[in-house]
Amino acid sequence: MKNIDDLWKSGVTRRDFVKTCVTVSAMLGLPFGMVSKVAAAARNADGRPAVIWLHFQECTGCSESLLRSSHPSVASLILDMISLDYHETLMAGSGHQAEKALNDSMAANKGKYILVVEGGIPTKDNGIYCKVAGKTALESLRTAAEGAVAIIPIGTCASYGGIQSVGPNPTGAVGVRDIIKDKPIINIPGCPPNPYNFLSTVLYYLTFKKLPDLDQLGRPTFAYGRRIHEHCERRPHFDAGRFSKAFGDPTHAEGYCLYKLGCKGPATYANCSVTRFNDGVAWPVGIGHPCIGCTEPEILFKTAIADKVQIHEPTPFDSYAPVDLKDKGKGADPLTTGVIGLAAGTAIGAGIMLAKRLPDAPEKGDDHGKTE
């Protein structure tokens, strides 16, 4: 699709398009004025980077998440826009035809395409535990990575190895960053990750022609810069010491903090509590399940869901809600009260003295003069 008019024909309304661009700008923390720039980047379909999407040891949940994100039109927009040349689940072709498309694209866009990886890569026994078109995952990844401008491992498996890398790790599964060292890698972990985090990363690249700021785990900070706990809707309950004691318990039904049920929110860096899933409607903690820490390689599948995380940096709240108040406003000070007392005393004294001096008995006729 080369032409903006085709975009409208494909079912994306202008309203949806602008809405998406605004959402993405907001999530990237860009000023509102940048919306037009983002929109321009998204609209300028010519010269769009080719994207090659490889699937390895995965459940396709990340792709499903992206497809079933609440804006189907957005999914089609982004898939159209980025010229998705190879995606095993989505492409129409199969077999040799598909393999040819992959090879053609890699050759044609060498050094320019974005490589998206979904799923962990088995390394044991030369990676024979995952093969596509007769090539091991390891092999495919290395080949595809060579000509990629950047790699976006989507999901926790591609980022850090995921569930198949959990001990005893029979296939020796690892994330992309353990194999590819010489390419920029932007991890979008999560199980599944929020589709908007992926979308925003791609649009960021298209808008600014550079990669976003990353944290030490290779995640873009605009999405993974803060803990879930910091913006959790149940945070006031945490601060007030109100915790759900068990699933189905009245404390749970009341919506109290899920920390004691094993919520990993205080140790998990992600924006779920702000962006949420299904078009901002719901997210796990919102519907009563503790966060399982799916964006954290050290938490997901490595600690039990019911285990409590250690809160290393309890971020204390600035102040309690004003229930029991301290003294406010300025009261009396000794000097002022002294002056007032003195003045009042003088005034009353003077009044009494004046009253004493005033004539008491009524005088006959027109009175005049004062008594001295």
Partner: protein, 424 residues
């Protein structure tokens, strides 16, 4: 309305009390300067909990009641047609003029963002449903009306003056600095005189309409001063928060007005060594107890109806202030029921003072003492805040003192036909 009813009080202007009042005024106005340069927090203890401090409570709410002498006297003279009190009105109007003008000025000191105040003069920005707007508009209009009511005194002065002070000043300027008298100065002064003489009879013709306005406006806004606190139903103590607040404020300002007229007359006669106006004061004093009895009846009846009599007698902090206010007004009124006491200058002074104190305390109770914005909030005026109010009050007294010595304000002394003034 004969203007021979009034006379200038012929005495030195620079007296010791003038110096003291001037000093207090200067301190007050210096602090007002500080308030405008450094902000309201630099001089006052007002807070989000107590956005209305002593300035609103005293200068506006209480000060305008004390300045209701002119209003109360106008009702008596023009509505009840007791023209024998007419000689007293000019000094009452002069104090009212200062009281109201400075109340308006205090609001300008008090508003947090005075640079937005010009919006008040743009009708499209008006919020006509606001009691505060009504008060502001009335205070401004009434100040203008009072100025018009006072104009005859100024015009009489202009008609009769020989510009003695001005001439002397120009001569002295010429002597020390060599500045020449402006050409045709005498002619111009003469034309001012002519203008005053032309304007004076014409103003007299329309003055009665101005006076009607001068009676209408305070009736409107004095009740509105009570309405302002109606909204604070959770903050004002139930002893004072009632639907009758507007009525109570209206009656309150009337008996304060008459009492202050008595006080002013006694104090100024004492200070200026003039004969006391006992006859007129006794007449005034006969009205006050009826007003206070109505007021006290409404207060008690309302408390009983709202089942707050227990709270009034509980002797807690609020109850004590309520009882003090009640006893002051009731005590002063009781004295005035006695014909013997009513014809004694001393007891007139005592009872009027008690009633003014009680009535003013009522307004303090409503605006400040019985007002509790919530747990933890405290307010007590800062010294600087207080000194601004003191400075404004000092300026009022100072202005009164000076103007009665320049303009024909005080009643003419009929019996002697001449000044009985000693050397003040």
């Amino acid at each position: 309305m004969g203007h021979d009813e009034y006379q200038r009080y012929d005495a030195k202007i620079l007296t010791p009390s003038f110096i003291v009042l001037l000093a207090l005024t200067l301190i007050g106005f210096f602090l007002i300067g500080v308030r405008f340069v450094k902000g309201i927090g630099a001089v006052s203890n007002m807070s989000d909990g107590y956005p209305w401090g002593i300035w609103i409570t005293y200068d506006v709410a209480t000060g305008t009641a004390i300045a209701c002498g002119g209003y109360a006297m106008a009702i008596l003279i023009y509505i009840r047609n007791h023209m024998r009190y007419h000689p007293m009105i000019r000094s009452a109007i002069l104090t009212s003029m200062f009281g109201y003008g400075l109340a308006g000025f205090s609001v300008m000191v008090d508003v947090g963002r005075p640079w937005n105040a010009y919006n008040f003069f743009i009708p499209s920005k008006w919020q006509a449903n606001s009691a505060m707007f009504e008060v502001a508009l009335c205070v401004m209009a009434y100040t203008t009306v009072l100025l018009l009511e006072f104009m005859p005194a100024i015009l009489t002065y202009l008609e009769k003056t020989d510009w003695h002070t001005l001439q002397a000043l120009m001569d002295r300027l010429h002597k020390y600095t060599g500045i020449n008298r402006p050409q045709r100065m005498d002619e111009r002064l003469e034309s001012v005189k002519d203008l005053a003489a032309w304007l004076h009879p014409r103003l007299d013709k329309v003055l009665i309409f101005v006076i009607v306005l001068g009676i209408t406006l305070p009736t409107m806004h004095q009740s509105s001063l009570g309405s302002l606190l109606l909204i604070a139903s959770t903050k004002l103590h139930p002893l004072w928060h009632t639907g009758f607040l507007p009525l109570l404020f209206l009656i309150n300002c009337m008996f304060i007005g008459y009492s202050i007229a008595i006080l002013e007359s006694i104090i100024s006669c004492y200070a200026f060594r003039r004969p006391f106006e006992l006859h007129e004061l006794t007449g005034l004093a006969r009205i006050i107890p009826w007003l206070t009895v109505i007021w006290l009846t409404v207060v008690i009846g309302d408390l009983a109806w709202r089942k707050q009599l227990g709270a009034a007698l509980s002797l807690d902090f609020y109850s004590r202030f309520f009882l003090l206010e009640f006893c002051l007004v009731a005590g002063g009124s009781l004295l005035l029921f006695s014909g013997r006491k009513r014809s004694s200058i001393r007891w007139l002074f005592v009872s009027a003072a008690l009633i003014v104190l009680g009535g003013a305390l009522y307004r303090f109770n409503v605006y400040l003492i019985g007002f509790n914005p919530g747990k933890g909030w405290h307010y007590f005026p800062a010294l600087a805040e207080l000194m601004i109010t003191v400075g404004i009050v000092a300026f009022e007294i100072l202005g009164y003192q000076v103007l009665v010595k320049i303009l024909p304000v005080l009643p003419r002394l009929h019996t002697r036909g001449q000044l009985d003034a000693g050397k003040a």
